[in-house]
């Protein structure tokens, strides 16, 4: 019972912006859309790989996010990017519109096409497992 005492602090730490989703909900949603089980290993491989279908300046997710999703990344403009792993950045995977916007933009930049629901499920599975 005693660890329930942390609950008020957790609530305080919640971002002011309306929380529209969670990592678990996203994972369930993308998995359902894909119709297959998500794989953290496949997510990691996709994230770390170099791709050739997208724009030449951004061959990989790691171009801007770095190889460690628990660390800060950096845009090509020099601007820092907050870590992707929800374990160190609780704001990640809390806003469905935001997640969809950046999957949309970044999959086009890196892969040259939209990501499939299965790929999104794999990435969310890996990032939230860290």
């Amino acid at each position: 019972m005693r660890h329930l005492l942390v609950l008020p602090f957790l609530l305080l730490a919640t971002p002011v912006a309306a929380q529209s989703t969670t990592a678990a909900e996203l994972l369930a949603k993308y998995t359902a859309e894909a119709g297959t089980e998500a794989s953290a290993e496949r997510g990691q491989a996709l994230f770390l790989a170099s791709h050739s279908g997208g724009k030449s300046d951004t061959p990989s997710c790691t171009t801007c996010h770095g190889t460690d999703p628990r660390a800060m990344g950096q845009a090509r403009t020099g601007k820092p990017i907050a870590p992707l792993a929800p374990a160190v950045n609780p704001e990640r995977f809390t806003d469905l519109k935001f997640v969809e916007k950046w999957f949309g933009r970044n999959c086009t930049s890196v892969l040259g096409r939209a990501c499939t629901a299965a790929e999104k499920a794999d990435l969310v599975a890996w990032l939230s497992s860290l």
Binding site: K55, A75, T77, G78
Partner: protein
């Protein structure tokens, strides 16, 4: 300071005090000020502008004080002692063994007047450039075009002054040889050896109290006539950023101010967000329209700022970068190429790493601070 004549009082046997202490202090202070202004203006980057303006202003003040001393100082400080009439200059330069002038010879006198005029005009053109082009200082109401011309004139005058200084130094060395005396040392100690046959000067009495009073009055009048408040100049870049613009456009980069580009360039950029400088930055139609409307309402045509005049409508291709333009490269040539790419700048697109006021659209030289490289 006393009203007693300071000339012709031999400190040592045969020595004559030619340059009084104020002339010497003026000379070497001017050397210091002009040196600092030259180094900060020609060699160092724009972040040194405050020191440049301070040294330049002090040089102008020194010359103005010297002009007053030229009418009220002792014999050899007076303009009357070195009137550079053409006939006198010619006869001095042509003569095999010209009569020695204890003070300035006529050619030297011409150089004195030229140097002083150059410093005054440099001050005026600098102030006009600061006012018209950078929209600050007492002349900030000047039209932009005039300010830009003033900056060109300022640069040309500075080169001219540099040439005159070199000629002045060469002449001092040459004349030292010719008259077998060390003229540079004389400008330090003030005294020269009196010789028979020296050009006779009409002795004049110094009026240091009157001179000081006039200098103080001039300084007071200058300070009093400076504008007291510094209101935002007319046609300033919009100071409050639209929240949607600020939120969406700063996700990956700083808020590039709408006044930096022309309407045509913004149309191309916002119409091509799917391929935005090498990345997909697409937004939904409603957000794009909102940002486009706001940006166009505050584009370069609505402001009078130096970046707007330098860059808007000047991109090499509609999707080109400001950092690829000749104007940008000229302004950044003092910064090593590699410095942009390493920590903590990382990218030429990261204006705010050095320009603290980048997001205001002003890019004032007063707000430049180039960070040192840090280990990543």
């Amino acid at each position: 300071m006393t009203d007693a004549p300071t000339t012709d009082t031999p400190p040592h046997a045969g020595q004559v005090l030619v340059w009084d202490i104020w002339v010497r202090l003026f000379h070497w202070s001017l050397v210091a000020c002009v040196s600092i202004a030259c180094v900060t203006g020609f060699l160092l980057d724009a972040s040194w502008i405050t020191l440049h303006i301070a040294s330049g202003t002090l040089a102008v003040a020194l010359v103005l004080a010297r002009i007053i001393w030229g009418f009220l100082g002792p014999t050899h400080a007076r303009f009357a002692d070195f009137r550079p009439a053409p006939s006198r200059i010619l006869s001095h330069v042509r003569a095999q063994a010209p009569a020695r002038h204890l003070g300035h010879n006529p050619a030297g006198g011409l150089m004195m007047l030229g140097l002083m005029a150059a410093v005054l005009l440099l001050g005026l053109s600098g102030l006009a450039g600061l006012g018209g082009a950078l929209r600050t200082g007492p002349l900030r109401a000047l039209p932009y075009g005039l300010g830009e011309i003033a900056l060109e004139v300022h640069e040309t005058l500075a080169l001219l002054l540099l040439a005159m200084i070199l000629a002045h130094i060469a002449a001092a060395i040459l004349e030292s040889h010719r008259s077998r005396e060390n003229l540079v040392r004389a400008m330090v100690t003030g005294s020269k050896q009196g010789r028979p046959g020296d050009h006779a000067s009409r002795p004049a009495e110094a009026h240091p109290r009157l001179a000081l009073l006039l200098i103080a009055m001039l300084a007071g009048a200058t300070v009093a006539s400076l504008p007291q408040d510094d209101p935002t100049p007319a046609r300033a870049p919009v100071s409050e950023l639209d929240p949607t613009f600020a939120e969406e456009c700063t996700a990956c980069h700083l808020a590039y101010h709408p006044s930096l580009l022309s309407a045509a360039e913004w149309h191309v950029i916002l119409g091509g967000l799917t391929d935005h400088y090498g990345e997909d930055a697409s937004l939904d139609a409603e957000t794009t329209a909102r940002i486009t409307n706001w940006v166009l309402a505050h584009d370069a045509s609505t402001v009078q700022s130096r970046p707007a005049r330098l860059f808007a409508g000047r991109l090499d291709t509609p999707t080109g970068s400001m950092t690829e333009t000749g104007a940008w490269k000229d302004l950044h040539e003092e910064v090593a190429e590699a410095h942009f790419l390493r920590a903590p700048i990382y990218s030429k697109a990261n204006c705010a790493a050095c320009h603290a006021d980048a997001e205001t659209g002003w890019f004032s030289p007063f707000h430049i601070r180039i960070p040192r490289e840090t280990p990543k």
